[in-house]
């Protein structure tokens, strides 16, 4: 199996000089292509911090993150931004779409940053929005979409850049059960059919139930990893 994420001995300490807070403690995490993994744990367990570190949004105090053989801890800020653009898709809890752009423009925007040709952008926007069931909402702005629809646009946007993997921080937290189920169906389908790697941080049992691997974080440490458990069993 191709390794996509290799997080080695990751620690993150906030306020190291005053009152140190150990958000993540010596975490080792190894994710292969095509995994559908949930990072679970109580509030303050370090899920989001770990996700941010893996996504290159935050730097670890110790350890290194290697994605597809590239140690992202060694990248300069602009290289890191460029790396994220081409390798990582993000789905945020609060959707975070650009409110002044339509659904199709939100999806196209990422490809525009990648300088993809117009024809390819148009084709892919239509494909992606169709795959998330929003073909009829191409020219609708986020404010006119429901929360579930906005999150589906966010998934389409995350996929637009053809990333190595998608990091989703509590993607269903603001959704009703029907919208959450629809979203999970879409992500599962993409994972199954296109082998796209997903890593979620979540509290949501609905997500945990669908995940094929569940990693439990407590106090910044991995307390349980279902993959390891399965291997042990």
């Amino acid at each position: 199996m191709q390794t996509v994420i290799d997080a080695h001995n990751i620690s993150k300490v906030y306020n190291p000089d005053t009152i140190p807070v150990h958000a993540v403690n010596s975490v080792h995490l190894h994710l292969n292509r095509g995994e559908f993994t949930a990072l679970v744990g109580p509030s303050g367990s370090g899920k989001t911090t770990l996700l941010n570190i893996i996504g290159g949004l935050d730097a670890p105090t110790e350890g290194q993150v290697v994605i597809n053989g590239i140690n992202i801890s060694e990248l300069k800020p602009n290289q890191l931004i460029n790396f994220r653009l081409h390798n990582i898709g993000f789905v945020f809890q609060a959707f975070n779409l650009i409110p002044v752009l339509t659904a199709s423009e939100n999806v196209e925007f990422i490809m525009l940053l990648q300088k993809r040709p117009k024809a390819e952008r148009t084709r892919r926007v239509h494909e992606l929005l169709a795959s998330v069931g929003l073909s009829d909402k191409l020219n609708v702005r986020p404010s006119q979409l429901s929360g579930g629809q906005q999150q589906r646009v966010a998934v389409a946007r995350a996929l637009a850049s053809r990333p190595q993997f998608i990091l989703a921080d509590e993607p269903t937290a603001n959704l009703d059960s029907h919208s959450a189920a629809t979203l999970l169906d879409i992500m599962e389908k993409m994972n199954r059919e296109e082998a796209i790697t997903f890593l979620f941080s979540t509290h949501d049992q609905r997500v945990i139930d669908r995940a094929r691997r569940v990693i439990t974080l407590v106090d910044g440490r991995i307390e349980n990893d279902s993959a390891a458990t399965q291997i042990r069993h």
Binding site: L57, F92, E105, L113
Partner: protein
């Protein structure tokens, strides 16, 4: 797409954007219109200087500039022959000019006496048009004098009064003549009015012994653009004489005109400086309101240059929308008032005349200044964008997303 985002972002808070856009438009209108008034005054000053005071070019004996003595004169015939050969010359006036003393029963004053050919003087500076009371110099009547209303008031003179002009002739002998006031004139240059009286050239020549000679030749051209070529022609044709353009004869007018561009630039700069604070404030608010959005853009891969560009673009749009509207309003106002004129006669007419300006101002808006103003607006927008854009760049995606 950045342009689309910037444009749409601008209208997220419509009221705020409209307020700042209106401020820019008003600022530009006020600044440009005042600039047009300045240019109008400058243009009027130039026309007065050329058409009513010094003409385009003057020719003197080299010694005359230093010491206005009657002996520094030039032969009229040869001058006239040279001038008549140059088609660009519309009119010329050959004058006898000397300084002396004007005496009346009620007082006396040092003055400059201008001996002129009435017709030529009318052709070069429209002297007859300035006669307010009484008559212009009559070529057939001897020893008539035109004095200004200002001088008449000062010395309590009236039409028909006799005055005595005491002068020095070419041999530096004192000579005097009695002249009767035929008319009172009033030009747009009060200081000059007070110092100059006009008599027939033949009458003055008889007194100071300059028959057939002239101290000053004033030349009016058909077009202002002919100034330098004619100047060069005259320098070649009359190498022994002092040839001066209006800029040298009336350096204060040249200074006013040359400093107009600088004044207008400084004026617009001050207005833009004030506006830039409004723009900075608006853009700072816009950036702070969109902290999470900008954080997200950086998280998904928008590099700093693009974030910077987006904020700059938005700021430029904010500034640039209002500017053309203001400039258009200024142009329309100038078009209207440039036709009707702004009559300041009742408020400050005398003060304006004291500085050689006409009381009615016709605003003028030169295109190069409009272009220059637009360039300054753009520059201001870019400079005003720097602080908010830097603020956006300093955001850390991981923290910004959490807000």
């Amino acid at each position: 797409m950045l342009t689309i985002i910037a444009w749409r972002n601008l209208w997220r808070n419509r009221t705020r954007s409209l307020i700042i856009t209106t401020s820019v438009a008003l600022g530009m209108w006020a600044g440009t219109f005042i600039m047009a008034i300045y240019f109008g005054m400058g243009e009027a000053r130039l026309r007065i200087a050329i058409d009513n005071e010094v003409s385009h070019i003057q020719v003197h004996h080299p010694g005359f500039a230093d010491d206005k003595e009657a002996k520094y004169n030039m032969p009229m015939d040869s001058l006239a022959r040279v001038f008549q050969k140059i088609p660009a010359i519309r009119a010329f006036s050959l004058r006898s000019v000397t300084t002396g003393m004007l005496a009346t029963t009620s007082g006396s004053q040092g003055i400059q006496v201008n001996g002129v050919d009435p017709a030529a003087e009318q052709a070069t500076r429209g002297m007859q048009n300035f006669v307010q009371d009484g008559d212009y110099l009559d070529p057939a009547q001897r020893n008539r004098v035109l004095v200004s209303t200002k001088l008449a008031k000062k010395l309590k003179l009236e039409i028909g009064n006799k005055i005595v002009l005491t002068l020095l002739d070419t041999a530096n002998n004192i000579t005097a003549g009695a002249f009767r006031i035929c008319g009172l004139y009033h030009t747009n240059n009060a200081p000059l009015d007070e110092l100059n009286v006009f008599v027939r050239k033949t009458d003055l020549d008889r007194l100071i012994g300059t028959d057939g000679r002239a101290h000053e030749a004033a030349i009016l051209l058909h077009r202002d653009d002919d100034l330098d070529p004619v100047f060069q022609q005259l320098k070649q044709a009359l190498p022994q004489l002092q040839i001066e353009r209006w800029q040298e004869i009336s350096p204060e007018t040249a200074l006013v005109l040359s400093s107009l561009d600088t004044y207008s630039l400084v004026f617009i700069f001050i207005i833009l400086l004030a506006l830039s604070f409004g723009i900075i404030n608006t853009m700072l608010m816009a950036v702070l309101e969109r902290t999470r959005e900008i954080g997200m853009l950086m998280a998904v891969g928008m590099n700093k240059l693009r974030v910077f560009g987006m904020v700059v673009l938005e700021t430029i749009m904010l500034a640039v929308i209002g500017a053309p509207a203001g400039l258009l309003a200024a142009w329309l106002t100038t078009l209207w008032l440039g036709h009707t004129g702004i009559n300041l006669g009742a408020i400050m007419g005398e003060s304006l005349r004291d500085f050689g300006y006409a009381p009615v101002i016709y605003p003028v808006l030169p295109w190069h200044n409009v272009v220059q103003t637009m360039q300054l607006v753009l520059l201001t927008a870019v400079v005003a964008a720097i602080f908010p854009a830097l603020k956006a760049l300093r955001l850390k995606p991981v923290e910004a997303i959490r807000t």
